[in-house]
Amino acid sequence: MTNLHFHGLHVSPRNPQDDVLTMMAMPGQALDYKVEVPSYAAPGLYWYHTHPHGESARQDLDGMSGAIIVEGIDEYYPQIRNMRERVLILRDQDVEDSEASLRERIFTLNGAIRPQIPIDSGERQFWRIVNASPDLYADLQLSGGQFEIVALDGMPLSYHDPQRSTRKGDHILLPPAGRVEVIVIGPPSGAAATLSTRCVDTGPDGDANPAMVIADVGAPGDHSPIRTVVDSSGPLAHDKVGKTLVRELEASKPDFTVTFTEDKNGFYINGKKFSTQDEPLVHVRVGGLQHWRIVNSTREVHPYPSGSFLGLRRKRNRFGLPGMAGHRECSLRRHSGSHYGLYRSSDQRHVALPLSSAES
C-alpha cells in the first residue's frame, strides 16, 4: 500500500489533500490529490514522499520522494534571478563494501553517487537542497567555501525579518526532511572542491552517520539554464511577531509539554506508547501563538517536524546544535535534552494536533 504526504506545506489534512491516515492505495488502486496551496504560503522548497504507516521508511529509502517548489522566493531575494538554479535531492542508498564485508548507507545526489556539480569559477548559483533520507543526517559543508543561506525549511529568512535576507555559514545541519536554499560561489579555477557531510553524532543509541563526500564541485560544462523569473506571486507576506509578545511568551509557563522516550518496544509520548489511533493531545486555535516545551529523554537525536506549525523562536539549551538558529519547521532535539519553542498554528481552521503529526 502507498499514499503521499506533502511535507511542510500548510494544507488541509483531509481527503483529497494531505491525508495520510485515510487515503491509501492498495496495489492496483489509484488516488487523486487536489492540494490547495494557500496564498500566504511561504515561497520555498518543500517535498513529497510516501507515508503509509509501517511502510514509509522502506519506500522513502527506495527513493519514493520528490521536491516541491512554491514559487516567489526571488521576490524576497531578487539577487537570485540571474543565477543558475539547482534542485538537489539527497537520498540514501545501501552499498556493499566487499573488502570489509559490510553494508553501508551513503548519500546519493539526484540519484547518483558522487556526481559533479558544474559551476564556473566565481559563479554564484542558487542551490535548493532537500534531505529526503528517512534517517541520515547531513551536516553539509563546501570545501573552501561558505553557504549564503536564503531559506530554511521552505521559509525565507526575511519572511520573519525583512531586514535579514541571508546569513552565511560554514556548514549547515540538515536532518531528515530538512531543506535549505543557499547561494554558493564556484571555487577558483583549477581548484578541486567538494560538497560533503561531516560526521554527525546522533547519540549513544543513534545510527552511524559518518562523514562522506556527496559531490564534486567545479567542473564547468553542462549547465542548467539560468533561473527564469516567475510571474509575481503577489504582495510580499511577512509574519513579524512583536518582540514584547515573544518575550512574554518565553517567560510564561509552557502551554504544552511533551516528553518523548523510547525502548526496544517502540516510542512513548508522555509515558504512553505511541499509536496512530490515539486522540489528539492538544488543540490549538488557528493563528495563535503557543509556548511548548519538548523534552527528548531518549539516547539519540530526533528531528521533530511541527507539521502545520511555524517555529518562530527557539531557545537553545546547552545541547543546542550548530546551524539550528532561526526559523525552522523541523527542530532537532538532542538526546537527553529539552527544547523550548514558540509555535504559530497556520492551518485554515481550528486544528487538532494528532500524535501522528510527530512523524516525518
Binding site: N3, L4, A25, D32, V37, G63, E71, R86, V230
Partner: protein, 80 residues
C-alpha cells in the same frame, strides 16, 4: 616477455583511463507545473520500488504558485 608487455599495457591503461572518463554530471530532475500522473512501481533494474513519471523513474519537481493547486493522479502499481 610477452606476458610482461601485456601486463604493462593493461596497467598503464588502468592508470590513465580515469583521466579520459567523463565525470558524471548531476542531473536536473524533470519539472511539472500542472496536473500529472505519478506511478508507484517496482524498478526491476534497480531492484527496489520507485516513482515513475513520464516513462522514467525520476520523480519530478512540482512547481506551484502560492494560491495554486497541485493536481496529482497517483497510481499504485507496486507488486502485491
Amino acid at each position: 616477455m610477452c606476458l610482461k608487455v601485456v601486463v604493462f599495457i593493461v596497467s598503464a591503461f588502468w592508470i590513465v583511463m580515469p583521466l579520459w572518463a567523463q565525470p558524471l554530471i548531476v542531473a536536473d530532475p524533470p519539472e511539472v507545473r500542472g496536473p500529472f500522473t505519478l506511478v508507484a512501481t517496482y524498478d526491476s533494474a534497480a531492484g527496489h520500488n520507485a516513482f515513475a513519471y513520464n516513462g522514467n523513474t525520476v520523480p519530478p519537481v512540482i512547481r506551484v504558485m502560492p494560491g495554486g493547486v497541485i493536481k496529482l493522479h497517483y497510481v499504485n502499481n507496486l507488486p502485491i
